[in-house]
């Protein structure tokens, strides 16, 4: 399969995403430039971490106007897969592909650490091969990762099973001690209503080798691979949608 990785001015984790695709997953990697206008056949597009446009004004605010983003939006509307990690998550929220927004960590400090992300739903292409409730140890590194949304939006996210990851402790409990940035509901990642766009603050791409960061992040990439391989049939569970 083909993964596209977009480089915005100020992207820092693009090289790592490309390396994971090529060297760890053994898939085809397409380096996309923010001024490009098409995705060159990418099945899944990664918007990587970093500081696009220096994170000036607001994280992701300026990147959303890059020419490539029109193609990303069109791809998403067609049901194509889009994975936004860290700054990529912020860009997806700014671009309106995901609900909510990311604001400064409650500590106001940048935080680099390992966290535990609990998988809340397997009804996404990105978690279809995982077990619900399973725990991934993943790095975070961000200054503005505090997920916020208004109450209506939050209720909708819960009702439609769109919360994909939550920060948890080693026993899988979700609580304030396990929350590294003050995110509402300990939310670490959400997907779109159509479930094909995922944004998350933790970095699965930095947890794909035993030597550096461990291998827990592979679960996300492997899910996408198998989901695409059998044409989206390996859907894990159905979304646990509650009646509105």
């Amino acid at each position: 399969m083909r993964w596209g990785v977009v480089t915005f001015p100020g992207s820092n984790d693009d090289a790592q995403a490309l390396r994971v695709v090529e060297r760890v997953l053994g898939d085809e990697a397409i380096a996309l430039w923010h001024k490009d206008v098409d995705l060159r056949g990418a099945d899944c597009v990664i918007l990587p971490g970093g500081f696009s446009y220096g994170d000036y004004l607001r994280c992701g605010a300026m990147a959303k106007f890059s020419p490539i983003m029109a193609a990303v939006v069109a791809h998403a509307r067609r049901g194509g897969l889009v994975l936004g990690i860290c700054n990529g998550f912020q860009i997806l929220c700014e671009a309106g592909l995901l609900p909510g927004a990311l604001v400064r960590n409650r500590s106001l400090s940048f935080v680099c650490d390992l966290v535990i992300a609990r998988i809340e739903t397997t009804a996404t292409p990105f978690t279809a091969s995982c077990g619900r409730g399973s725990l991934l140890t993943l790095p975070i590194k961000h200054g503005e990762g505090c997920y916020v949304a208004d109450e209506t939006t939050l209720a909708e996210l819960e009702a439609r099973d769109q919360v994909v990851f939550r920060y948890a402790d080693a026993a899988g409990r979700v609580g304030p001690e396990a929350n590294p940035n003050g995110s509402l509901g300990n939310i670490a990642g959400v997907c779109s209503a159509e479930r094909n766009v995922l944004g998350l603050m933790p970095h699965p791409e930095y947890a794909t080798e035993r030597l550096v960061g461990g291998e827990d992040g592979l679960a996300v990439f492997r899910s996408v691979q198998s989901w695409l391989r059998d044409g989206g049939r390996s859907r894990g569970d159905e979304p646990r949608v509650q009646a509105p």
Binding site: P9, G10, S11, G49, F51, L211, V212
Partner: protein, 736 residues
Amino acid sequence: MSVSAVTADVAADHGLTAEEYAKVVEVLGRAPTFEELGVFGVMWSEHCSYKSSRAWLRQLPTTGPQVIQGPGENAGAVDIGEGLAAVFKIESHNHPSFIEPFQGAATGVGGILRDVFTMGARPVANLDALRFGRLDHPRTPYLVKGVVGGIGHYGNCIGVPTVGGDLYFDAGYDHNILVNAFTCGVARRDRLFRARAAGPGNPVVYVGSRTGRDGIHGASLLASAAFDAGAAAKRPAVQVGDPFTEKLLLEACLELMGTDHIVAIQDMGAAGLTSSALEMAGRGAAGMLLDLDRVPLREPGLTPAEILLSESQERMLLVVRQGSEAAVEAIFRRWDLEVSVIGRVTDDGTFRARWHGREVCALPVAALTESAPVYRRPAEEPARFEQLQHFELAALREPADLTEVLLQLLESPNLCSREWVYRQYDQLVGGNTAVRPGGDAAVVRIEGTARGLALTVDCNSRYCLLDPYLGAVLAVVEAARNVVAVGARPLAVSDCLNYGNPERPDVMWEFQQGIAGIRDACLALDTPVVSGNVSFYNETDGRSIPPTPVIAMVGLLDDVEAHLTPWWKAEGDAIVLLGRTREELNASEYLAVVHGLVRGAPPWIDLETEKRLQRVCLAAATERLLSSAHDVAEGGLAVALAECSFGGAGLGARITVESGMRADALLFGESQSRMLVSLRRRHLGRLRDLARREDVPFTVLGEVRGSSLVIGEMIDLPIEHARARWRRALPERVGG
């Protein structure tokens, strides 16, 4: 020529003494123009000319088979195999960080990054060595938060991991903090770029940010005189870092370096355009003609002197081949950066600058660089030296509760966990960080190979205060030992020599002692100095900092998978101490924290003994005998044992020691040339053989067991509890 009259008084405003001004007139054969005077002022400043240190720096060993580029270029380079070079340098940004801690530290990181990528290397790791005043000084927490925030801001945003550093608090830095930033990059050894202008007619190209009034008159002068009450008025416009622009500059430069267009390249650092143009011309024995009207400006109305001397950040100067202009412009435009051809290389050996149709500078390049003053300033051992060394161990009262003492040490500012600092740094970006901050040295995989680089910065300024020669020796030795502790072979050094006012004989003596110490230790350990920086005038109102020669050491692991960390790995592993514990408490952290004494000669050191210890450790690491390794440093054996237990798994240790010495000396003394290792019992015999072969004392101390650190009858420390207190200490004292 400028109409403003240049006199010796005006010269004094530019930091030149009457004699220096006379020399300017002599080498020119006329009075300088106002602009020329500005150029002399910065170029002959201590910061740019090294006039007080140059004669002594020549004593440092700078050669060896591993050295590809020694001092003299933007950064040093050593061979790391597979056709690659490690390119690295450390630099100070002390005065600017004291004035504006966040931006001062941030621009310090930006500056050292440019020094490294100028050479054609992609930066792969940053480290930071920090010195602050007492934690209970009212300004210290503000400075700490600002500096750490600024370092993180720049490194995180540009996408280079910060993988280590060091941090000390001492009253001696209350009014002069130190911010030393180190960057290591990796380049193909046959693709290193240098700053030697060549080829008359070749265009000189300006790239990066526009020029503003930042740091005019200037950061370099600021770093070349002591702080005093009037310093605030002399403040130059503070430089603000723009890591986003530097990221674009980095990528664009590396892209350009993949082509054949570049003849020479140099970042614009201290003394801005002037110094980068002159240095490139000087190294290449060429001349240069600049058209200042073509320099991109941030605001209108800059004078030619301001354009020449501005220290605006995120700028580079290139000499490219004739005919390459369009290709070079295309690359920088693609990255949305300013690019402008502002001059060309000439063959008349003269630096000329034109502005609005007149020539404001016409200086013989050689005069500026070769006739720069060199001072052999008087040096004299101060009286306090002998006093300080006097210390009588027998008179020291032994504390009753040693567990309490250990806790007190673990919570003290210089020994507690640095996690609060490095949590604010992106340690992972790039995807090669195998050992993150918290160990003895960081380990970074070399992209595309199975090798790894080990990186550390060290200096115990208390040792240097008590004996500036031995302190410097010990800084090198500890840095090398830290590199060995992760299983790497020490390769080479970059040093940042932070001292007081060189016009004072006692400071000059400290400096000379420091150089001698680094020389002797580097010769013994075969780790040449390939780059470095001197920072003088770290003094306020006549009080100078403790001598602080920070040593950055780079080591190589042939197999990065074989790296070691300090932390216990498995119950039942044997714990072995390699090296000898002497009954010495002089100069120790224990003495300072528990008894309030800064006294005695630094711990005994013998470089032969140290080398033997390092050989044993490296052999054991290479044979994969060890589960963990940790060097015994500040706080002594007990603190080292506690640190090995703080690795997350919560494993403790059971230690039995027999010795005839005082318990506090045994536990907290800082004897050198010791390494604490743990290993499977079946490897004990082999390790003993290796130690015996090198005549290194070998003592089985006990084993990894339980969840407490138990040392005989002396210490019983529950790990969870102690670890929590050790981790909380810094954020609690800094306030957040």
